[in-house]
Amino acid sequence: MARPSPRALCAVLAAVAAAAVGPARAGDGGEGETGEASGGEGDGDEGAVRAAEETVDVVGARPDLAPDPSSTSAAVTVIEVDDRLPAASDAAGVIGDAAGVHVQRLGGLADTAVITVRGSSARQVEVFVDGVPLNAYGGTAIDLTELPLGDFERVEVYRSGTPPELGSAAMGGAVNLVTAPGRPPAPRLDLTAGSYGTRRLAATGGWAGRGAGRTVDLLLAGEGLSSRGDFSFFDDRGTVYDADDDRVLTRINNDVAQAEVRARVRVAGGAWRLTLSDALLLRDQGLPGLGHDQATEARFGAFQNGLVLQARASSSHAVAVRARASYRLRAERYQDPLGEIGTGVQDSRDRFHGGAAMVHVGWVPAPWQALGATVELRLDGYEPVDRTREVATDGARARAGLVLSLADDLSLLGDRLRLSPVAQLHVLDNRALGRVPFGDAAVAPDAAATRAAFTPRLGLLLRPLPALAVKANVWRAFRPPDFIELFGDHGTVIGNTDLRPETAVAWDAGARLAGGPPEVVAGSLSATVFWRRSDDAIVYVQNSQSTQVPVNFGRARVWGIEAAADATVARAVDLRAALTWTDSVNLDEAEAYRGNQLPGVPTWEVEGRASVRILDVARLGGSYGYTAGTYLDATNWYLTAPRNLVGAFARVQPGPRWPSLEIEVRNLLDITTQEVPRDPLNPDDGETVVKPLTDFAGYPLPGRTILVTIGYREGAAP
C-alpha cells in the first residue's frame, strides 16, 4: 500500500469540511421525523421494542435510547460527546474517564492508545461502532486514535452485561461508539494547532429531508490529524548508576498523519429503516522504537474501509427485526528497512478481511417480557505478504464463526425486579486457518478444527426505590487467538500457532443511586465489586532480546471495586469522577511470577473531569488522573511511581453564531519523569533514580501539550 500523500489527505479533508459547512439541512428534520428510537446498532433493542409497543411506531418516539445505567443490570458508563469536553479530545482519553478503564499509550496525542478494562488485556476489550465489531475473532487490539471522537455522539462502555445483539463474549468488556442516532447533528468545524507540530481539522455535517412518506438523512463526519510527535523525554543512556550522563532527547520518527471519513445515509418509512454507512481511514506513521535507541526509518501505514448495510422493521405485533451485513477491509504496511525494530529488515503488506451478517429479532409478548434472538455469521480472513521475500507468507488464512444468542428480559414486581438471562453459543470453524509456518502441520488439527464455546450470562436488576438500582451479573467469556497472535510477524511480535482460546468466569455486583432536580443538583453515585478468573490467558512474553511471542499464560484472578459519581449543578456545572481499586493476581506456575500482580494493571486509578459554563459565553474545564501501583513487569520488580496528570481547557464563544476559541493544556504540570528505586532488588539502600514516564517500558510520554482550537458549531453555546 502506498503511503498517503499530503495532497490526498488534504483533498479528503477538504471534502469533509465542505460537507460540514456547506449545505445546511434542507429539511426541518424534526426529531419526531428523522430521529429514531435506536439509531446505533448498539442501542438497547428490547428497549426499542418496548418503545414500539408503547408508541406503535418504532421509529420516531425517542430520539436517543442510550442505555440508562439505572434501568439495566449492565455495568455501563455512557459518555456523551459534547461541548463539555475539550474540542480535540481523543477517544482513549474520554473512555478512560469511566470506572474500571485504564488507558495505555505509546506516546502522545496521535500515537497508539489502547484501553484495558478491569485488569484485562487490550485485546480482550471488544470495540464496536454502531454495534458493528471492529475486532471480532480475527482482529487485534483497537488503536483508539483511529476513531476520532468527533464522529460520535456518545460512547457506551460495558464492563458487564454487554447487549446480546453485539455478539460479544468479551473477556474485558465492550466499547460501543455511536454516531448520531437521531437526526444529523448541527454542522461543526474545528481547526486545531498545537504542540509538536500537531494539526487537526475535524468536521461534521448532515442533511435531512422528507417526501412521499419517506425520510432521508445524511451524515458526514471526518477528521484529519497530523503531528510530528517530536516531544522531549528523559534518557539515562542505560546507566542507572551514572546520573552525570543523563540527558533530554527529542522523539524522532514519531510523526503521524491520519485522515478518516465516515458517511451514513438513512431512509426510513413508517415502520422500517434502511441504513448504509461507510468509514474510510488512511494512516501513516513513523515507528520510533525504544527510548534512547530510536528507529529512524521504520514506518507503519494502514488503509481501512468498512461498509455496513442495516435494515430494521417493526410490526404492530410488537415484533422488531433488524438485519445487518458488513464488510471491513484493512490493509497494513509495515516497513523496517534497517531492521531497527525487529530482527532483520522487514517489509510486509497484510490484509485483513472481516465480513459479517447478523439478524436480530425482538419480540415483546407481554408488557413484562422482551425476548430477543440473534444469529450472526462471521468470516475473517488474513493475507500476510512478506515483500522482502516477494512471496505470500504461507498463504491466506480464514476463520468462520457463528454466534447464536437467545435473550430474555423479565420485568417483575411492577418493574422493580428485572432478570436478563442470555444464552450465547460461539462456534468457530478453524479448518481454513491453513498450516503452520515453515512446517507441514495443520494449524487446526482435527481436535481443534471446530471449537464451540457456551457463554451464558445472567443479569439482575432490583429497584427497591425509584432512585436506587441494585445490580448483579455473572457470565462466562471466551476469546480465540486472533490472526496476529497466531501468525503475526511484525516488528517485535511473532505469532504462536499453538495458542488455545482464553476463557474467563466473572461476576459483579453493585448499586447505583441517581436523581435530583436538574435545576439544582442532579447526579448519580454508584459502586460495584467485580471479580474475574481467566484461564489460558493469552499474554505476550519476551522470548528473545528483540522478539515477543503470545503464550497461554495460565491463570489469573482479578477483583476490585469501582465507584463513580457524576453531577450537574444548576445546569451549568458538570462533574464526573471515577475510582477503581484492583487486586490482580497472576496464578501462573512460574515461581518468578506466581502470586504477583499482573503487569500494566494499576492498583489505584482515579479519574475526574469538571466543566462550568459561564454566562453562556465561556466554558472552563479541567481533568485529573491519578494512577498508582502499576508494575511494568511480571516479576513485580519495577513499580512505577504514582502519577498525577492534570489537564485544563478554556473556551470562549461570544454568541451562538460566533466561532469559538479554545485553549487546552494536557499534562499541565509537565510531568515527564518519575523517581523510582535505583535497584529494585535492594530497595533498602534508599537510592532512587529518575526514569521517564511511560505506560510501556521504552515508550516515553510527552510533557505539557498545548492545543488551540477555533471551532464553529451551528447554534451551539460554549
Partner: protein, 385 residues
C-alpha cells in the same frame, strides 16, 4: 532482596548412569545450604570462588551467584537487565547490558550490589563481550565498526580499535566473542547481512588485536558466524565455532563445526568436528586443561550436551533437553557450568544451571539443575583469590 536457595527442582537431563554422581551432588548441596553475607559471591566468604550468573526473562534480569564449593545459590543479588551477559577478567565482574540498553557495569567480586563503574557504550551499540587487556577494558559492539577501549577505573573512553576494514556491505563487522591471550585479543567478527541476518559474502573473520597499540595485527578468514573460544588444553590455540543456526528458509543449517586456530603458526585448521557429523549446530564449548571438553549443540528439537576429547575429537552424547542452552563457563576444577532456559520449541522445558565434570563426562546435576527465580542466561567464574 537477596534470596538464598537450595531449590534443586526440575527434571534431570538424563538420569541413570549418572544418578550416583547426582545424588552425591545433591547431598553436598543439602549440607551446604546456609546464609552468608549478601552482595558478595559464593557463601559470602571473601576469596571463595563462585559462579556469577545473569538471569533473565528477556524483560528484566538479575545477577545471582553460586558458590563453587557448596553450590549455594544466591538469587537476585542485584538487578541487571533483560539482556545482560557476564564476564570475569582483570579482577572484575563485568556485566554487559546488551540490546537496547547499551551499557557496561564493573563490579568488585566482593560486592555485586553496587558497581564500581557504569558507562554507556553508545545508543544502539549493542555490546557483546569484554576483556581486560593491556590495562584497558576492551568491548566488542555489534552495532559499531570499532571496538571500544575504556579505562576500567573510570569508564572513560580512551581509544578504539577500528574494524571497518572487515565490515561487510552493511558497514558493520558484527564484532562479538573475544578471547584474551596475554596482551593479544582475538575477536570473532560475525559479518552478518543486517537485512536478512544471514552471513554476508566472504564469511566471517577472526582478528588479532595488539592491546598495546590497539591495532589489528593478524586476521583469518573463517566460515560463517565465527565464535572464538579458548582452547582449554593449549594456550597457543583457539577454538573457532562456525555456522549459522537457521538458513534463509528457516531450516536448520548444518554448515559449520569446530576448527582450531594455531596462533603460533598463524593457521586456521580444517573442521575437526562438523555439524553434519553431529547432526546439529555447535553452540558453545569449554573444557579442562587435560583436553576433555563439553560441547553444546542445538537444533529444532532442542539442545544436546556432548563430551568431547579435544585430542581425537571424539564426541559422546551426555544429555539432551528441550531447554535452550545459551552459554557455559569452566571452573578451575574442570567443571563446566551450562546455563539452561525454557526452550522456545518446548515451553514446558525447565531452566537452571547444569554442571558437568568434563574429565569424567559426569552430569553432576542429574538429580536436578540448580534453580533460579528467572532462567539463567550467562555464566562466568570468579576464581579463588
Amino acid at each position: 532482596m537477596t534470596r538464598t536457595t537450595c531449590d534443586r527442582g526440575g527434571p534431570a537431563g538424563r538420569p541413570g548412569r549418572l544418578a550416583a554422581a547426582g545424588l552425591a551432588a545433591l547431598l553436598l548441596v543439602a549440607a551446604a545450604c546456609d546464609d552468608g553475607v549478601p552482595g558478595g559471591g559464593g557463601d559470602g566468604v571473601p576469596g571463595d570462588a563462585f559462579a556469577v550468573v545473569a538471569t533473565s526473562d528477556y524483560t528484566v534480569g538479575a545477577l545471582a551467584t553460586v558458590d563453587l564449593e557448596s553450590w549455594t545459590v544466591r538469587d537476585e543479588v542485584t538487578a541487571a537487565t533483560g539482556d545482560t551477559v557476564v564476564r570475569v577478567d582483570g579482577g572484575l565482574v563485568i556485566a554487559i547490558n546488551r540490546y537496547q540498553v547499551d551499557s557496561v557495569r564493573l563490579y568488585d567480586p566482593a560486592d555485586l550490589t553496587l558497581p564500581l563503574v557504569e558507562f554507556s557504550t553508545g545508543p544502539g551499540s549493542n555490546p557483546q563481550d569484554a576483556a581486560v587487556c593491556g590495562g584497558h577494558l576492551v568491548i566488542s559492539r555489534y552495532g559499531e565498526e570499532a571496538l571500544e577501549v575504556v579505562d576500567p577505573a573510570t569508564g572513560a573512553e580512551v581509544g578504539a580499535v577500528d574494524l571497518s576494514a572487515y565490515a561487510d556491505a552493511d558497514g558493520l563487522p558484527e564484532a562479538a566473542s573475544m578471547v584474551r591471550r596475554g596482551e593479544l585479543l582475538y575477536v570473532g567478527l560475525q559479518r552478518f547481512d543486517r537485512g536478512t541476518w544471514q552471513p554476508a559474502e566472504g564469511g566471517g573473520r577472526v582478528v588479532e588485536v595488539d592491546c598495546g597499540t590497539l591495532e589489528v595485527t593478524r586476521d583469518w578468514e573463517t566460515g560463517p558466524n565465527p565464535v572464538v573460544r579458548a582452547h582449554p588444553a593449549r594456550d597457543d590455540r583457539l577454538l573457532v565455532l562456525e555456522g549459522v543456526f537457521y538458513d534463509e528458509d528457516m531450516a536448520i543449517a548444518l554448515d559449520g563445526g569446530i576448527r582450531e586456530l594455531d596462533l603460533a603458526a598463524g593457521e586456521l585448521g580444517p573442521l575437526e568436528l562438523a555439524e553434519e557429523e553431529l547432526a546439529a549446530n555447535v553452540v558453545d564449548i569449554a573444557g579442562d586443561p587435560g583436553g576433555a571438553a563439553v560441547l553444546v549443540t542445538g537444533d529444532d528439537a532442542g539442545y544436546t550436551v556432548w563430551c568431547v576429547d579435544l585430542g581425537g575429537w571424539g564426541a559422546s552424547e551426555l544429555l539432551a533437553t528441550g531447554s535452550y542452552l545459551p552459554e557455559m563457563a569452566v571452573d578451575d576444577r574442570g567443571r563446566v557450568w551450562i546455563t539452561a532456559r525454557t526452550g522456545w520449541t518446548d515451553p514446558g522445558s525447565p531452566g537452571g544451571l547444569i554442571v558437568v565434570d568434563a574429565g569424567s563426562c559426569a552430569d553432576l546435576t542429574a538429580a536436578g539443575w540448580l534453580r533460579f527465580s528467572l532462567d539463567p542466561f550467562s555464566v562466568a567464574i570468579v576464581p579463588p583469590a
